[in-house]
Every structure is written in structure tokens, then in C-alpha cells.
């Protein structure tokens, strides 16, 4: 009902494989963000987007890429997964002129 969904909710993958996480919104918000959450580190920004095909790097972008070909979808790709990328990943959306975020439910990714 919040207008943002993440998929998958859980995933286990092997080291070295590519993985894509999807964030889908129905709110037509301009801004979208990918964060990772790890114990002791809080939320760390990976990448963000301020419109279709407009993306930029966050503080922990190494090993990750993103794409936004439509307003509603923001994809996060781990090009070659490593164990250090085991984490919970959250997507957030934000409307223009609004400073608050709406978060998705998260994707728990385990790299073995």
C-alpha cells in the first residue's frame, strides 16, 4: 500500500555471480535511492537517481551498478557478488519538494 516494492525479498547467491535487485514504485516520484544496512554501520547510500537515466554514486558504490530506464523501476546490480556484499538492501523513494523518504521492505541478500 506504500507504493514501493522490492524484489526478491530474500536471495542466496554464490560468490562471483551477478545479482540484480529490483525496486518498483507506483508513486511517480522523481528520486530513488539504494541503501545497504549492516550492523554498526547504519544505512549507507550505494547509488541514487534523480530521474530516468540520471543516476549518481553514493558513499559505497564500488562493486555496484544501477539503471533507471523507467520512472517506476530502479535496478541495483552486483556485478560479481562477494561475501562483503551480504547485507540487507533498502530502496527509498522521494517526491520532488518533499524531504522525507518512503522505504521498501528490504531485500536480504546472502553471498556464500
Amino acid at each position: 500500500d506504500a507504493g514501493i516494492t522490492q524484489s526478491p525479498r530474500h536471495k542466496v547467491t554464490e560468490t562471483g555471480t551477478p545479482v540484480t535487485l529490483r525496486c518498483h514504485q507506483t508513486e511517480n516520484h522523481r528520486y530513488m535511492y539504494w541503501y545497504r544496512q549492516d550492523p554498526g554501520h547504519g544505512l549507507r547510500l550505494i547509488h541514487y537517481s534523480y530521474g530516468v537515466k540520471d543516476t549518481d554514486k553514493g558513499e559505497v558504490s564500488d562493486g555496484y551498478s544501477v539503471s533507471r530506464s523507467k520512472t517506476e523501476d530502479f535496478l541495483l546490480t552486483l556485478e560479481s557478488a562477494t561475501s562483503s556484499q551480504t547485507s540487507v538492501y533498502f530502496c527509498a523513494i522521494q517526491a520532488s519538494g518533499d524531504y522525507g523518504y518512503t522505504f521498501g521492505s528490504g531485500t536480504r541478500l546472502t553471498v556464500v
Binding site: Y31, Y33, G40, H41, G42, L43, L45, Y48, Y50, F90, A92, Q94, Y99, G100, Y101, T102, F103, G104, S105, G106
Partner: protein
């Protein structure tokens, strides 16, 4: 550059006791301040926010926070906590001209019966 410091990583309290979760920020411009709550195995939800106007803001479940510009703080308080308040709480700051929010490290609130 903005930053947020949550001074306590964990706060244990007894049920029905008061609690304060501390948040300090640094910014050279006007700020917007937020508290988000994350219940176990869930995403983050907005608890309350300060954008302008009254410096005291309240949530629907009894929490309140006060924007103190001179102290650069936005502490979260509740006079009497319940078991259901067990969660992790994140303070965040935004500002005009900077669309992205900056988050604190989080404070884990544990309520003991």
C-alpha cells in the same frame, strides 16, 4: 557537509519508564529533521519530522522530538514506553539544496518487562 550523530547505539529501559534517544546534527544551512523507526525484520517507517514552524513535533504513538537550533539537536522522547516500542530508531537530516538525507547510525531501543 551534513552529518548526524546518534549518541547511543543501544538504550535498554524498563516498560513504562521514560526514554530519550539523542540525536545531534551538523549543517551550515537550514535543516529538516526526521526520526524513522525500524521494527524487527521490517523496513524503515517515518515516525515524525520537523520541516518548519513549531519546534516540538509529535507522533501518533506518543513520541515527541524538539528541534533545538542552538544545541543542534533533535532528541526523541517518550514519557512511558511499551514493549511494542522495541525497535531501532534512526535520526536523519536534510537541507535545502541537498535532496538526499543523511542518516545516523541508529539506536536500538530495548524494552524490558
Amino acid at each position: 557537509a551534513q552529518s548526524v550523530t546518534q549518541l547511543d547505539s543501544q538504550v535498554p529501559v524498563f516498560e513504562e519508564a521514560p526514554v530519550e534517544l539523542r540525536c545531534n546534527y551538523s549543517s551550515s544551512v537550514s535543516v529538516y529533521l526526521f526520526w524513522y523507526v525500524q521494527y524487527p525484520n521490517q523496513g524503515l517507517q517515518l515516525l515524525l519530522k520537523y520541516l518548519s514552524g513549531s519546534t516540538l513535533v509529535e507522533s501518533i504513538n506518543g513520541f515527541e522530538a524538539e528541534f533545538n537550533k542552538s544545541q543542534t539537536s533533535f532528541h526523541l522522547r517518550k514519557p512511558s514506553v511499551h514493549i511494542s516500542d522495541t525497535a531501532e530508531y534512526f535520526c536523519a537530516v536534510g537541507s535545502q539544496g541537498a535532496q538526499k538525507l543523511v542518516f545516523g547510525q541508529g539506536t536500538r531501543l530495548t524494552i524490558n518487562p
